[in-house]
Every structure is written in structure tokens, then in C-alpha cells.
Symmetry: C2
DNA sequence: CAATCCCCGACTGGTTTAGTCGTATTTTAG
DNA sequence: CTAAAATACGACTAAACCAGTCGGGGATTG
């Protein structure tokens, strides 16, 4: 159904949180999990994978946490998703996996791969900064924007 | 992982088959299933759904089968996928489904929906004619089979 | 009337995924 | 030095999903 996993979803939320919440301060797993009501152990695993993929830097210890390892505009959502869910493929087959039963007779492989490329580029062109720019709700400090399109308060 | 289901995959293969294999002749489920080595009962269900969605017309009886209900260029792959897998959503939430636990606090919903729109439009701009145009060479069916009783001796 | 084809829903087994648990390691406050 | 706070890692479970199967119908043609 062309759906991305909940893990990836959480990853993007965390990335946006880290982008909005000052790239200077480190945010702990607990802080993020409480902010968005995400099971803490699950989020922990997600953040660890992001760190291992080089998108985040981790700092252990009492005042530790995670920070973006690069400026937000230089991190694409495609990278984030791939770090969590592996290479994003639209079909069961791929350039490196021909294990599909219909591979030899399939007549839509190539056209479908072309469509996949368009999707990937769409995801590559969006950065987490774009996510953050949209509507910076839930940030403790945010400047008041003149009344246009104020998202209805989430009363947090 | 942003992957479409096998069913949708089969549906696209069948649609291309019907587009290439003359929009005049009706093709039976058996014919298509044999051409691409797809389990016949599974393909049957897929074709039925496509018919119910109005993308195919069915003809019962001894020389029946399926035909495209519209010219191939006017059928988008988005339609085909949605007919099989339901409305294509990239996240667990949607305009009509707020059942996600994080819905109220989520900070990536809107930006993600915007990306989804780009993907949907990419799928809507591709027609099954485009699939067929790609490499029209790959139709592994014989053209010379009108009504011939070419039953191979399968010793029934 | 019988062969061929579409129609429909219920079922099953395997895979994937969301979420949990337990334990170890690193850092810093006191 | 020690305890608290934090990341790191892997094994585990329950539920959801999905590919594929079965069986009972009904329509069309010759
Ligand atoms: S080979 Fe064809 S049928 Fe198999 S996964 Fe790729 S596109 Fe789908
Ligand atoms: S509300 Fe947010 S977290 Fe929940 S499915 Fe939608 S985008 Fe994902």
C-alpha cells in the first residue's frame, strides 16, 4: 500500500524535533518519547539506528542525548527512511534481488523502476529542514508568526 | 518500506497485458496467469476487483474474459493500485483516519502529506499505456491462437 | 446439457512489524 | 568512589498483514 513503517515515522518526528529544538542542545530519548508519546524503548532503537547510520551523534552520560550530525537542510527524508527501513524499493524485486517468481517473465519491472526513481528523487529533495519549516508546533521557544495559518493549538 | 503489494504488481502486469494484447480481444484469467506464471486463483481475485472498480469489463461464458473498459492512456497506475490496495496512503493516518496514537502531537503529519501528494501525482501521471510503451517487445504470448483447439496433451 | 469462464467469500500458513524486557556500558554529579 | 542518568544491544512476544488456497456458485455458448 505504499506505506512507510511506524519506525520511519517516529524517526522523522525525532529528526524534526532535533532540528527545531536547537541543534546545539542534545535531546535525550526520554525527552522526545514524552513529547510525542512514543514508547521509549522503541524510540531508543530508532535513534540508535539513526546514530549508526551517521545521521545523529550520540553523547552518553548524565547530560547526554542525540544531536543532528549535519545541518538540517543537508539531511534528506530519503536518508532517514532508508536508515530505518533499509533501501526503499517499490517492488519485491530490485537491481540486486531477483528472487521474485515472475522476474523472468515480468513485463512491468522496468517501467515500475522508473516510477520508483521519481519517488526517490521526490524524497531526496525534501530535507528535514523542510519538515521543520512547515509549522513549528510543539517547540518550547518559537517566534509568533502573524496570524496566518496558525495550526489549532494542540494544547500541550 | 514504501512497497506496493504483490497483488497490485499482478494487477499492473495484467493491465499491461490487456493493453498490449489488443484491446479488441478478451483475455481470460487462465491465459494471463499462464503467460506470467501467476497463481490463477489469486489473479482471478485481482481481476475481479479491477472489474468491480470499473477498470475492466468482464464477459462470462465460453469465450469470455476481460477487456480494458477505457483506452489505456486514460487509465493511470494510481487508479490500478488504489483499486487493489485501497486508497494509497504513506502514513497510518489520513484525512479520514486519525486513529494514530500520536495524531494530536504529531509534528510531521502535514509535511508528510504534502510529500504524499507529490507521489500520488507521479503515479497519476503514468498511464498503463506508458507501461506498455516501455518495451512492447516483452509480450510472451502467441498471436496466432483464435479459437484453435490447441490442447496440448496434458493427459486430462 | 456440459464445458468454460467469471463471481464471491472464507480459510490457512508464513512473514513482518509494533512493542517489550533484560542487561551491559559510558559519563558525570555529589 | 558510587549512584544516577543516559545510550547500546539483542532476544523475545503478540498482533497484523499478506500471498496463496479451497469450495460453492452462476452465466454463456455450442
Ligand atoms: S519482477 Fe515484476 S512481478 Fe516480480 S517484483 Fe519485480 S515488478 Fe513485481
Ligand atoms: S499522525 Fe503523525 S505519527 Fe501518526 S501516522 Fe500520521 S504522520 Fe505518522
Amino acid at each position: 500500500m505504499l506505506r512507510l513503517s511506524k519506525r520511519a515515522d517516529y524517526a522523522l518526528m525525532a529528526m524534526k524535533h532535533l532540528a527545531v529544538n536547537g541543534p546545539l542542545r542534545a535531546a535525550s530519548t526520554r525527552e522526545i518519547s514524552q513529547a510525542y508519546d512514543i514508547p521509549v524503548e522503541l524510540l531508543a532503537k530508532v535513534l540508535q539506528r539513526l546514530a549508526r547510520a551517521g545521521l545523529l551523534t550520540s553523547q552518553q552520560g548524565i547530560h547526554g542525548g542525540y544531536q543532528l550530525s549535519r545541518p538540517a537542510p543537508q539531511i534528506s527524508v530519503a536518508e532517514v527512511i532508508e536508515a530505518i527501513d533499509g533501501p526503499l524499493t517499490m517492488t519485491a524485486c530490485s537491481e540486486v534481488d531477483e528472487s521474485c517468481d515472475q522476474y523472468s517473465r515480468c513485463n512491468v519491472r522496468d517501467p515500475l523502476w522508473r516510477i520508483k526513481k521519481r519517488i526517490v528523487s521526490a524524497l531526496s529533495e525534501s530535507s528535514v529542514a523542510d519538515l521543520a519549516a512547515d509549522s513549528a508546533v510543539s517547540s518550547p521557544v518559537m517566534f509568533h508568526s502573524p496570524g496566518r495559518e496558525a495550526t489549532v493549538g494542540t494544547g500541550q
